[in-house]
């Protein structure tokens, strides 16, 4: 469990290095500013700012993130306010509190999670069923990027 990162309290970039090892921002860590990483990252603390990691991102039960998140896979057990853009799977666990739009190859939500936001899976409705009330994207007025 390596913690090779520099926390910049003034706000700004925080680089998390550690190749493929899992990095952990412990429960007492606070980051104000952008957080970038190459490997996997587990957040147990409080982050305000964009989070972007190449590997997987895990926001643990006590973790709190306010900002958009980009990772290869995302598991949310704690709190997130922000959009998620994952290449792979996004999982919102029971007990998580999440507000934001989810994008990924697969998005799963456990019963018992608190979630509000949009999910945009890529698929077609079968057998002549169409969303005749308009494009799902524009349903609530907010056009997804």
């Amino acid at each position: 469990m390596s913690r090779n990162f520099a926390t910049n309290r003034a706000g700004g970039r925080t680089a998390v290095r550690g190749s493929d090892e899992a990095n952990v921002l412990g429960a007492t860590v606070r980051v104000r500013g952008r957080l970038l990483g190459d490997g996997d990252l587990r957040i147990e603390g409080d982050i305000e700012g964009e989070v972007r990691v190449r590997g997987s991102l895990d926001v643990s039960e006590g973790g709190n993130v306010r900002g958009n998140v980009t990772a290869s896979a995302v598991t949310l057990s704690g709190s997130l306010t922000g959009d998620v853009d994952a290449e792979g799977a996004v999982l919102i666990r029971a007990g998580a509190k999440v507000a934001g739009d989810m994008k990924g190859s697969e998005i799963a939500l456990e019963e018992g999670a608190s979630y509000t936001g949009r999910i945009e899976a890529d698929f077609e409705l079968p057998d002549g069923l169409d969303d005749s009330r308009g494009d799902a994207k524009s349903r609530t007025g907010a056009k997804r990027r």
Partner: protein, 185 residues
């Protein structure tokens, strides 16, 4: 619900109209219209449901088939593998199993909420304190009509330092009125 057996709309059935009532219902066929059920509704993998107005409503909704339209439940909504839903989901508990596909808005709270932050739809931005834009004002229960369309209101909420912001889900227009009606049933 005692005394009501499970009803079933078979695979070969097409209903153009509304289904309502009490008891559990399994839909294997096609429905174009609306469903308002005081019971558990299961849409099997052959089900094809198109909600023409309002939302599909039941106590508990389990989806294995395809739905075009919004779904609302007083207890829970579960999308099982193979489910394909284009529409919004609203219920106290919502589950989407891996393999369940959704294109729409999800809200696990039925408390009324004002406009969702429009800021979210913009591409990733760098400003750290985005939190206030996302935090909606406290719920106003007497909201005449829920305003889900994200009119970007710069909400003057104090920047919270470290406390997770409250989750303010948004409801489709009229959904709150519908829920109130349902609650008062």
């Amino acid at each position: 619900m005692a005394g009501f057996d499970t009803s079933r709309i078979g695979r070969g059935l097409v209903i153009r109209g509304t289904i309502r009532g009490e008891g559990d219902l399994e839909i294997e066929g096609r429905v174009e219209g609306n469903v308002d059920l005081d019971g558990e509704l299961t849409l099997t993998d052959s089900a094809r449901v198109k909600i023409e107005s309002g939302a599909l409503a039941a106590r508990r909704v389990v989806v294995q088939g395809a739905v075009a339209g919004d779904i609302r439940a007083t207890a829970a909504i579960v999308l099982e593998p193979g489910a394909r839903v284009v529409g919004d989901l609203a219920a106290p508990s919502i589950g989407i199993r891996p393999g369940g596909l959704l294109r729409g808005h999800v809200s696990t709270s039925d408390s009324p909420a004002p406009a969702r932050a429009a800021a979210r739809s913009a591409p990733r931005r760098e400003e750290a304190p985005r939190a206030p834009a996302r935090v909606a004002p406290p719920p106003r229960r007497e909201t005449p009509a829920a305003k889900p369309t994200p009119v970007a209101k710069p909400t003057p909420v104090a920047k919270s330092k470290g406390a997770p912001p409250p989750m303010m889900p948004s409801l489709k227009k009229g959904a709150k009125a519908q829920m109130k009606k349902k609650a008062g049933k």
